[in-house]
Symmetry: C2
Subunit: 254 residues, 2 copies
DNA sequence: CGAGTAGTTGACGATTGTCAAGATGGGTGG
DNA sequence: CCACCCATCTTGACAATCGTCAACTACTCG
């Protein structure tokens, strides 16, 4: 059993080190027993294919999910049947935090490509967190981080123009890939132009045009879903609103 | 001591019944002792004046805050000095959840008018939640709810036109006031037109024009900061995107 | 190989931002 | 108490951005 624990701990470290849940798995304050118990409630590597649903709006919420490989989109459907993309989830990112409130999912989630996910029954996690203060604290932090994310959304959609939005989107993907050990400047967009435009609050045509223009300007090399970022610094400038020589900021001063 | 508990419980019920923390205070699973302990860590009714800061970006985070009377705006300042309004907080609403992650505030908060707030040291709340599973659960729910709020923001800023945004804003205030026992159709806007337009991602002039037009159309009666909503049903329609006879939806179908 | 979906490009128009000027109202000092 | 002033708000004219419509191309999947 002791040997079992050691093996389990190593397995988790390998499996989770690139995962947003690593904060739950790896902190020093978790004893090997704690880790084993956490390990025991995690269901690993459920496979999904492109178009498979993880859950639909209104489904009962039972487990948090983490993308291992692939990508997921979450979206909400309005009365008239139109979708609103809420986010794209890359390896290591969590899905389902919004559903804790009413034990019911408030959005749908669909695989954008072949995808592996880990699942954690929330009941068990909650119980475990009650017994393990450091885990409880990590959970509070995790939820808080997600709340802080709203700031970026407000910046993106409330103040930025179309170029800035697309650049921000590309840089966001770049940083997230980089953080997980993938290339920061060469990756595949698993989502369609429709999904991108929907997420950014733009028309498909606008996104398409901006991709083309960025390419003409030598900032990116985009061939369909394969994208290379050729000038990260400039893209970051555009994302931050430093258009040409000082684009008119839409901000205001108190 | 037993009598003390009863008094304390009643006091809290009165103080908190219109408060978003009521979920923490009132659930049946809290024993009178738990309630008393919660009561003991809450600091009540700190007074603020118009323009006073609750905290600035980067300040260490120590306590969650709830508006008792008045209103607060939270905002983030970008490099160029321009502000982005993140939200308006009315009586019963919480401030500071985004700061748990790094024990540091990620936005500033300022009183829009004379305002009273309750404060809860987060350390103590966290400790208490460890000892009280139902409180822990309520805290998870509270944080989750805030995360779910992001959906509305994305709908508002990503898909809606200017009329829809203003109508959505007014209806949001209306519902929140109504939920706290105030009038749903007659209230004061404590925030300036600048703040409103900033929050909605529009120009001040656009907001002003829409207020005027809504007034001409008999939907509202707005005299400076005092607003009366004369046709809630119609405003809700506009907020939902049912412009005139079916405004062009910017959605798309999968 | 053919059909359908996804993506691109162009022309045009609507919505909304920008600039400028004027109106309103609250607050302060005479 | 009145008058003035400054900030806030409103209104108008114009321009820019971005969405819409339509046609065309390219890729994917049977």
């Amino acid at each position: 059993m002791a040997g079992q624990n050691v093996i389990s701990l190593e397995t988790i470290k390998v499996a989770c080190q690139n995962c947003s849940l690593s904060a739950l798995c790896l902190p020093m304050t978790l004893t090997p027993e704690d880790v084993t118990r956490l390990d025991n409630i995690i269901e690993r590597n459920r496979p999904l294919h492109r178009g498979d649903y993880l859950h639909s709006e209104g489904d009962p919420f039972e487990r948090l999910r983490v993308v291992t490989t692939g990508s997921i989109k979450t979206y909400s459907t309005s009365d008239d049947g139109s979708e609103r993309i809420l986010g794209f989830h890359l390896p290591g990112e969590l899905i389902g935090l919004e559903a804790i409130e009413n034990s019911r999912h408030r959005c749908s989630a669909k695989a954008l490509e072949t995808t592996l996910i880990c699942e954690i029954p929330f009941d068990a996690l909650e119980q475990l967190s009650h017994e393990t203060p450091s885990l409880q604290h990590q959970l509070y932090r995790l939820l808080s981080r997600e709340i802080g994310h709203e700031t970026e959304i407000l910046m993106l959609l409330g103040k930025k123009g179309a170029d800035e939005r697309v650049a921000t989107f590309l840089m966001s993907l770049s940083e997230r890939f980089k953080g997980r050990g993938f290339s920061a400047s060469d990756f595949y967009l698993s989502m369609s132009r429709f999904d991108i435009s929907n997420y950014l609050g733009l028309a498909v045509e606008t996104v398409s045009r901006i991709f083309t223009r960025f390419q003409d300007e030598g900032l990116i090399n985009a061939k369909r879903k394969h994208v290379q970022l050729l000038n990260l610094a400039r893209l970051q400038e555009i994302a931050d609103g430093n258009h040409h020589k000082g684009r008119s900021q839409r901000g205001y001063h108190s």
